[in-house]
């Protein structure tokens, strides 16, 4: 790991700590959005238990998308992104550091908050564990793919909505296997296959997506 990697992660965490409310907004969105579902579909515990994993996962997905425009936006506007790319450091480590910082700021709180909402949806203990584990494996994928979308739509009009249109289809496999793990546990099966697939997705996107993100960043600042 290069020192630039650590520096960028530390810098983004420091910036998030200085603007705490901004960093907490996606989590607030997640909390409010998840709470709306019981109000929309009714309070029957059986139905809530069945849809819990899907609701929590989809809301986590949308919450992760919300903060993506800020990922490179400010750096692009004040020119520091261009300086980073000119520094001679590989774009790969810049892009992966940015994705890691985004995950630490947005993904980790989602993983922590998810079991709480699983409880509100009356999930059993093993299912709660599966939900948390699947989010732990899945949210880094969302941050990585989201970084690619953010880099592609950098500085565009209506970039935020476009980003969501570009990235959500690519996130679908993570969603399928993440919720699949919880339903497998709910129906008494082993969720290991789902964890393996999620892990494989995470490794593949960890290796390939930062590379594509770096290319997209270079296209954007060219």
């Amino acid at each position: 790991m290069s020192s630039v990697f650590g520096t960028i992660v530390a810098r983004d965490l420091l910036l998030a700590a200085r603007r705490r409310i901004d960093a907490l907004l996606p989590i607030a969105f997640f909390v409010v959005a998840v709470s709306l579902f019981p109000l929309g579909v009714g309070p029957e515990p059986q139905m809530l238990r069945q849809m819990a994993a899907g609701v929590v996962w989809v809301c986590a997905l949308l919450a992760a998308m919300l903060s993506l425009t800020a990922m490179y936006g400010a750096d692009y506007a004040d020119g520091s992104l261009e300086q980073m790319l000119l520094s001679g450091e590989s774009g790969f480590s810049i892009a992966s550091a940015k994705a890691l910082a985004h995950w630490l700021i947005t993904g980790v709180p989602l993983v922590v908050a998810a079991p709480l909402f699983g409880l509100l949806f009356d999930l059993s203990g093993p299912a709660l564990l599966a939900l948390t584990l699947s989010l732990l494996l899945g949210t880094p994928i969302l941050s990585l793919l989201g970084g690619l979308g953010a880099a592609l739509t950098l500085g565009l009009r209506s970039g935020g909505v476009l980003l969501i249109l570009l990235i959500l289809p690519l996130c679908i496999p993570a969603l399928i296997f993440g919720t699949g793990a919880v339903s497998a546990v709910e129906s008494g099966l082993s969720a290991r296959a789902h964890y393996s697939l999620l892990g494989a997705l995470l490794i593949a996107s960890g290796l390939l997506v930062p590379w594509a993100t770096a290319a997209a960043l270079r296209i954007a600042v060219e």
């Binding site: 209506s158 249109l165 570009l166």
Partner: protein, 250 residues
């Protein structure tokens, strides 16, 4: 110099030569499209026998299956030309990739639409959340995302490159569509045509389907060439040869 007149690998990568070549080809492609469509529809609707279990409603597969094939193939072709454009910095490849997207999206929509029409009498429902249908829907989203991204970026070079990157990344999805039949085996019936086993359909049905597939290919070529020609004219409007073309029209 004799080499200047020889046909080389990249001869038609020059927009001007491409424009002239496709100008000659497009009328023929339209004629082939019309002929094959008429022949395919005739064989499909009048010659092919009625299916034992599905009745006459199965006949929509003569549109549905070729459209679904085209939707996937065109995405791969689009990603291929995008990648070529990126690797060799070929202007024309980007233009072709851009011209392919609307046709691919149209075929994807057609496959979904005819699939719904086929599903209603056969399964009793317009839509099921089956793996193949879902991935076809995702493919439509990918096409729409590409079209939206390319149109949102004003700078032409950045639009080309960013679209190329997105197309290549999205191409990962196309194998998922194809293998989803093996992954999740739900309501959708398995593939009826395979390269290794004997086909399970009557040979006239296969003939009609192949005729329609070739008709769709010819249509795709004709439309994509026409659209590329328009893009070529738009992007090369400051060049001498486009100027002389316009002067000749006057």
């Amino acid at each position: 110099m004799t080499t200047t007149n020889r046909l080389r690998f990249f001869t038609f990568a020059a927009p001007q030569r491409f424009y002239r070549l496709t100008g000659a080809l497009v009328p023929w492609l339209w004629a082939v499209t019309a002929l094959l469509t008429v022949a395919g529809l005739y064989v499909g609707f009048f010659v092919a026998p009625t299916d034992a279990t599905q009745g006459d409603s199965y006949r929509i597969i003569f549109i549905h299956v070729p459209a679904a094939w085209m939707s996937m193939v065109l995405y791969l072709v689009m990603a291929f030309w995008a990648a070529i454009g990126w690797a060799f910095n070929a202007r024309l490849a980007f233009m072709v990739a851009r011209a392919l997207a609307p046709t691919g999206a149209m075929f994807t929509f057609l496959a979904l639409w005819t699939g719904a029409f086929w599903g209603k009498p056969t399964w009793g429902t317009w839509w099921v959340w089956d793996a193949r249908l879902t991935s076809e829907l995702i493919l439509l989203f990918l096409y729409l995302g590409y079209i939206a991204l390319v149109n949102a970026i004003d700078d032409q070079r950045r639009a080309d490159l960013a679209g190329a990157l997105l197309a290549v990344v999205g191409a990962v999805n196309v194998p998922i569509i194809y293998f989803s039949v093996k992954w999740w085996n739900t309501l959708h019936q398995g593939a009826s045509i395979s390269m290794t086993a004997a086909p399970t359909m009557a040979s006239t049905m296969l003939t009609a389907m192949l005729l329609m597939t070739f008709a769709f290919w010819a249509y795709a070529f004709a439309v994509v060439f026409t659209r590329t020609r328009a893009i070529v004219l738009e992007r090369e409007q400051h060049t001498e040869w486009v100027g002389s073309l316009a002067a000749a029209k006057r």
